[in-house]
């Protein structure tokens, strides 16, 4: 309880609240309803990330409603959600904190706050159309088990890979790997 109090005192500073934030977020999360949250904390009670970290989805929803954009962006914990969908399933108010969190991530990425791990897998996506690349070792082993050495995906069809790269360009996804190490 003491710790909760400290956190709240640290985060709730309405002088820096940004009312536009909730509107931006609502455009992303579609039919979810962060405004309906009544802080029952059912989401937090079953959250796997909460077991290991001080990650509390109901608190994130509240900070979102209050428009505490910059504080949320600076919280490492917005990246700790495993997207297990438990909160979406148990929320009595259709808030679906997981979707709110994914919306916050989207806004963070637009503000160039992408994690290196995401940039790394995004690079594989750009070069192969997949998150896991295939190499000669896998090809040889696939063959051994009677599978085609190259699977019938973008790995095998260069024209399909071109189309995927076009999707990546059109949707601006390629921008996230810019400036990565």
């Amino acid at each position: 309880m003491e710790k909760d109090k400290e956190d709240l005192e640290k985060f709730i500073d309405m002088q820096v609240a940004n009312p536009q934030f909730m509107r931006d977020l609502l455009r992303i999360v579609g039919d979810q309803k962060p405004g309906y949250c009544y802080q029952c904390a059912k989401c937090t009670s079953g959250c796997p990330a909460n077991l290991f970290l001080d990650f509390q989805p109901h608190k994130i929803v509240t900070m979102t409603r209050l428009g505490l954009r910059d504080q949320l962006m600076s919280l490492g914990s917005i990246w700790n959600c495993t997207t297990c969908m438990r909160c979406k399933d148990v929320c009595p108010q259709d808030v679906a904190p997981v979707d709110v969190i994914r919306g916050i991530r989207r806004i963070a990425v637009k503000s160039s706050l992408t994690l290196e791990g995401h940039k790394r897998i995004a690079k594989f996506l750009l070069s192969t159309g997949h998150l896991v690349p295939i190499d000669e070792k896998f090809s040889a082993l696939r063959k051994k088990f009677g599978l085609s050495p190259i699977p019938p995906t973008t790995h095998k069809f260069p024209d399909a890979l071109k189309e995927v790269r076009e999707i990546i360009r059109i949707t601006g996804f390629d921008k996230i790997v810019e400036g990565s190490k």
Partner: protein
């Protein structure tokens, strides 16, 4: 029954044992699998990063499957959720559908959403059926207690329709029991394995360590998976999980359900790619052979 087969990222590469098993076993159960050409990542792990990108990628993959003209078997829990959710969004939103289609036109594709995305659990339990599986068991798995592990996205979010009930799923247990093995509930049966965090943090390994220890302490001989990402973490990365956390006591054999089914059907072990499992499965295999 004919189905198209969507592979995704990890199944044809690091987890091709799953692909080898499904191609070996399904035809024997009367399911003919047809490849889809030119598919890509389903984009689910990057959905939060760029939502339109996810939806476009998912819709393109569905449109490619539609060209084959069959319902589509999507083995991976994550890919399965991705394509199912995209289907449910695009079927309802005509405006969005038109926008996606205007982009897909470049490639000669058109999304209509009139095929079903099928989960392996659904095909085994509902389409093939437990009774038909009972008939193909020639080598019952006796005196072995196995923990069924669904993985999150096979059961949640329930509002878009998942292959089993989110609160009390039982299909995987039924499929294990029909092979002769025992199974029962355990703490954390329906909770996350941690794989969703592996790309960006070490918390995933902690979540997995707790899961493996709980299963071990509950007296199971092994763990049965249906999702390649859960399997990759619990099986292939088990030694990493042990080392990273100094949990030397962890020792839990992990098998794909299809590997277990293949063993019960009397299929040669080489064909089930069992030497690709990196968790300590030798003792369990010996027990299964002896049974």
């Amino acid at each position: 029954m004919k189905l198209s087969l969507y592979l995704g990222c990890i199944i044809p590469t690091e987890q091709y044992a799953y692909e080898a098993c499904v191609r070996e076993i399904f035809p024997r159960l009367g399911i003919e699998l047809v490849d889809i050409e030119g598919t890509s990542c389903c984009a689910l792990p990057l959905r939060g990063i760029n939502t339109p990108f996810w939806l476009y990628m998912a819709a393109r993959n569905i449109a490619l499957a539609q060209k084959v003209g069959l319902d589509c078997l999507v083995l991976c829990n994550g890919c399965n959720l991705s394509l199912t959710e995209a289907n449910s969004i695009l079927r309802e939103d005509a405006q969005l559908r038109d926008r996606i289609n205007s982009l897909l036109k470049e490639e000669g594709l058109h999304y209509t959403g009139d095929i079903r995305i099928k989960h392996v659990l659904e095909v085994l339990h509902d389409d093939i059926g437990v009774e038909k599986i009972r008939k193909v068991v020639v080598h019952p798995i006796k005196d072995i207690k196995l923990a069924a592990y669904y993985g999150c996205h096979a059961i949640r979010p329930s509002r878009i329709g998942r292959p089993d009930n989110s609160k009390a799923p039982n299909k995987l247990e039924e499929l294990i029991q029909v092979l002769g093995a025992e199974t029962e509930d355990y703490p954390g049966r329906l909770e996350c394995c941690g794989a969703g965090l592996m790309a960006t943090s070490d918390i995933g390994a902690k979540v997995a360590a707790v899961k493996l220890k709980t299963v071990q302490n509950s007296g199971f001989d092994g763990m049965v998976t249906i999702c390649p990402w859960c399997h990759n973490l619990l099986d292939a990365k088990q030694s990493f999980v042990k080392m990273a956390l100094g949990e030397e006591s962890i020792s839990m054999p992990v098998l794909y359900y299809l590997q277990l089914l293949g063993l019960a059907m009397g299929i040669e072990e080489e064909k089930l790619a069992l030497d690709l499992n990196l968790s300590p499965i030798d003792g369990l295999l010996k027990k299964i052979r002896g049974g």
